[in-house]
Amino acid sequence: MDSVKERSVDEVVSTILGKYNQRHHLMRILQEVQSNYGYLPREALEKISQSTGIPLSDIINVATFYHQYRLEIPGYYIFLVCMGTACHLKGNQDNYNVLRNTLGIKKGNTSSDGLVSVEKARCFGCCSLAPVMMVVSRDGCERYLHGNVDIKETKKLALTYRSMASKKVRSGE
């Protein structure tokens, strides 16, 4: 991942700004930056501000207001645990706790080895399969939805994705 980052923030941002550069594209610009890095690096935000003339405070306002944006680098895989009504009633809170325990996350959202993150998410619209969790990769290329997850399944998923992540990271992706 670091190698991507070294592909100069300037370069990435100017590519994106080549496509969108209006004030009302801000949300889209940030989405594109995030899909590049998995989060919004500070330098990128500063660069956007310089190039578009949108005040940095406005950019950060948007970046912190919407749930989709991350300001810190997440793990390779990100567990998005649905916290909608149906999922709440069917015990996704317990699943969330189990995930954190299994992955040994005490503080913040990311495991200490930086492989996997666990985040709470809003409804995916799959309430009929509650409880639901989505696993996405940092680059946004992979996306898996898991429905009707119970505690056993949660534990299994946690371990599976962790080993997948460590394999990918080791192979230098």
Binding site: A86, D94, V98, C127, S128, A130
Partner: protein, 652 residues
């Protein structure tokens, strides 16, 4: 070279191009050719339609690919099907379809073969695929769940019910969701042969005022929640004088528990876009936005693809079908904030800002970039398209005096048949919960039904005969909202439910106006105290009063409705609150601080798993002998309860 499709020219005589469009293009694709007489061209089109319906080789396998089926493993099933077809050398078309709303059956596949009834197989596992295929093709339909259609009338031989005969289907009126689970959401041809774009075809010859008049006659009300008459909104926007007007479709479905918009847009995106074009024509908008939630990527994907496809054939863009009306659509990905479901916040989001603003001025007069803007819900515009396709009479046949037509409801929570059901407005809640969704599993009792998401309220079980329409629900303390129905059974604590919704709205409050930002926090703190056994009786009065203030004086609809769950649970489940406060007990044994964990020595086998799970090491006991928890030191993390394989840890 790509395959010839219905959308392409049949021969050189067809002069339809995007630049010089033909007025009759839509009808021509199916009924055509209209501008010239050619048996060859006619046959060509007929054959193509046949192919689309039954597959090139007479066998068609449909696998639904939508978010919910994917979560249940449809991708694996799809792969298994392709593998099986490839390896067995079968000549069959594999197509995708949308979700038909019966999510508890996911993943399902639909098989059709000329001469055989179309059969639906449910809860399919990838490993079952070869067997299912073999059985079906050999004519053995006994393991099918239901038959979609049986044109030949031979289903009786198979003892498999017809889908239409199942209560969960016969009680529905599939009006707007008629294409869901039937059509291929990525094929414009599929849509066009199922009467698609006929509404658009019709209205381009009508005066915009007449279009609005038509909608007025249908009595359609907004399906987003508030139930504002659609025609009225359109008329206001239409009467504004402005160089540019906007038409926005709100697909930022943030209500936890509601997913009909996702379902519609994923399974039948063209219908949504057709309705949108009709609306834009009626109000004179020249630019449209579809605002889609980022958490629902497939929905955004399907909508963008559909927009591109439609634009490619000249149904969108400049001078649509030679009518002189120009309109284009951009799909915008929301970055996910519940408040964006509110009109003005949605507009802010599109403008690249945050937070709602005070209304009036309403968006219909001053909206996006201060221009007249109409914002409609996905389901509303899909209804518009359908109404224009099939006519007003078909629509007004259903519903009540004040609210016409049908509405989709997503029934989730503690019911055995979770899913989305489209029913006539005015059907009773109990019918929806029991007859359609099958009631709670394991014979449990329904305690309450939560309708309308975080802005709605709870209807207790004794009021389940309330008809679902805007007015009746309101008087019962709930709202129709977008139509999420969450069934709550005895195992849930209503105070906890209220706390959940409050924590949701608290987290989603944009923080702009005071009453919502601070008021919700105060409400949450009070509820938290109550669930921790620190409440006092004055708190209940305070909850009520504070709720009234927040409802009465908040800036946007989020704050104006956020205390509803508290108000309605207080109204119907006051005794549960009192139990938390007075007896310091949670009757449903949900609130951790009011629950004691205890190991039943009769059940405990002494495996020691709980000892490992306990983060505080206060579970003791020799291996092989019953363990015990030190209640004074237990932190009630519930880890032992979750871990115990014997079910020996008991909450009391």
């Amino acid at each position: 070279m790509a395959e010839w499709t219905l959308m392409d020219r049949c021969c050189d005589k067809c002069w339809h191009t995007v630049e010089y469009p033909c007025k009759h293009f839509i009808r021509c694709t199916v009924e055509g050719p209209l501008c010239h007489e050619s048996a060859e061209c006619r046959v060509k089109r007929k054959r193509r339609i046949e192919e689309l319906k039954y597959g090139k080789y007479g066998i068609k396998i449909k696998v639904p690919i939508s978010s919910c089926t994917l979560a249940a493993g449809a991708k694996e099933v799809y792969d298994a099907v392709s593998k099986e077809v490839l390896s067995s050398g079968l000549n069959a078309d594999i197509t995708i379809s949308g979700c038909m709303g019966l999510c508890y059956l996911d993943p399902w596949i639909e098989l059709s073969k000329k001469g055989l009834p179309t059969a639906i197989y449910v809860n399919v596992k990838p490993g079952d695929v070869p067997k299912i295929l073999k059985e079906y093709l050999s004519g053995d339909l006994s393991n099918a769940f239901a038959l979609r259609a049986d044109p030949e009338g031979i289903y009786k031989n198979y003892k498999v019910p017809l889908l239409n005969d199942l209560t969960l289907w016969s009680n529905q009126v599939r009006f707007v969701s008629r294409g869901c689970g039937v059509l291929n959401p990525e094929s414009i041809e599929d849509y066009i042969i199922s009467n698609g774009f006929r509404g658009l075809d019709k209205i381009l010859n009508m005066h915009p005022k007449n279009v609005i008049e038509f909608v007025k006659k249908s009595g359609l009300r907004g399906r987003g929640g508030a139930g504002f008459p659609t025609w009225m909104k359109w008329e206001i926007a239409q009467s504004q004088v402005s160089d540019i007007k906007y038409f926005i479709v709100n697909a930022d479905e943030g209500d936890p528990g509601a997913f009909m918009n996702r379902l519609l847009a994923e399974s039948d995106p063209y219908r949504v876009i057709e309705g949108m074009i009709i609306g834009a024509y009626a109000v004179g908008a020249s630019k449209g936005y579809i605002f889609v939630r980022a958490e629902k990527p497939l929905m955004a994907d399907r909508l963008s693809k559909a927009v591109e496809e439609i634009r490619k054939y000249g149904l969108l863009g400049r001078n649509i079908l030679g009518s002189g009306f120009s309109f284009d659509i951009e799909v915008i990905l929301s970055a996910g904030a519940f408040v964006c479901g509110e009109e003005t916040a949605l507009i802010s989001a599109i403008e690249g800002r945050t937070r709602p603003r005070q209304r009036p001025p309403y968006p219909a007069t001053r909206g996006l970039w201060d221009k007249p803007t109409v914002i409609n819900n996905v389901e509303t515009v899909a209804h518009v398209a359908t109404v224009f396709q099939v006519g007003v009479e078909e629509f007004t046949k259903y519903g009540t005096e004040k609210s016409k037509g049908t509405k989709m409801f997503c029934v989730t929570g503690c019911v055995s048949r979770t899913g989305a059901y489209e029913v006539p407005i005015g059907m009773s809640l109990s019918k929806l919960v029991y007859d359609l969704a099958g009631g709670p599993p394991d014979g449990k009792k329904v305690k309450a039904v939560q309708i309308g998401g975080p802005s709605g309220g709870c209807v207790p079980s004794n009021l389940l005969n309330t008809p679902v329409d805007y007015e009746s629900l309101q008087s019962a303390g709930a709202i129709m909202g977008s139509g999420g129905v969450v069934v709550i059974d005895e195992d849930s604590c209503m105070v906890d439910v209220a706390k959940f919704f409050t924590s949701f709205t608290l987290a989603e409050s944009c923080g702009k106006c005071f009453t919502c930002r601070v008021g919700m926090k105060l409400l949450y703190d009070i509820l938290k105290n109550i669930t921790e056994g620190k409440g006092s009786e004055e708190d209940l009065e305070l909850l009520n009063e504070l709720s009234d203030v927040i409802i009465g004086s908040s800036l946007c609809a989020l704050g104006g409705t956020a205390p509803n769950p508290i108000k309605s649970t207080l109204r119907y489940f006051r005794d549960e609150y009192v139990a938390h406060i007075k007896d310091r007990k949670c009757p449903a044994k949900v609130c951790p601080n009011l629950v004691e964990y205890w190991i039943d020595p009769a059940k405990c086998v002494g495996c020691g798993l709980c000892v490992k799970a306990c983060p505080t090491n206060f579970i003791t006991g020799e291996r092989g002998k019953p363990h015990s928890i030190d209640p004074s030191k237990c932190i009630r993390c519930s880890q032992c309860f979750i871990t115990c394989p014997q079910g020996a840890v008991i909450k009391r």
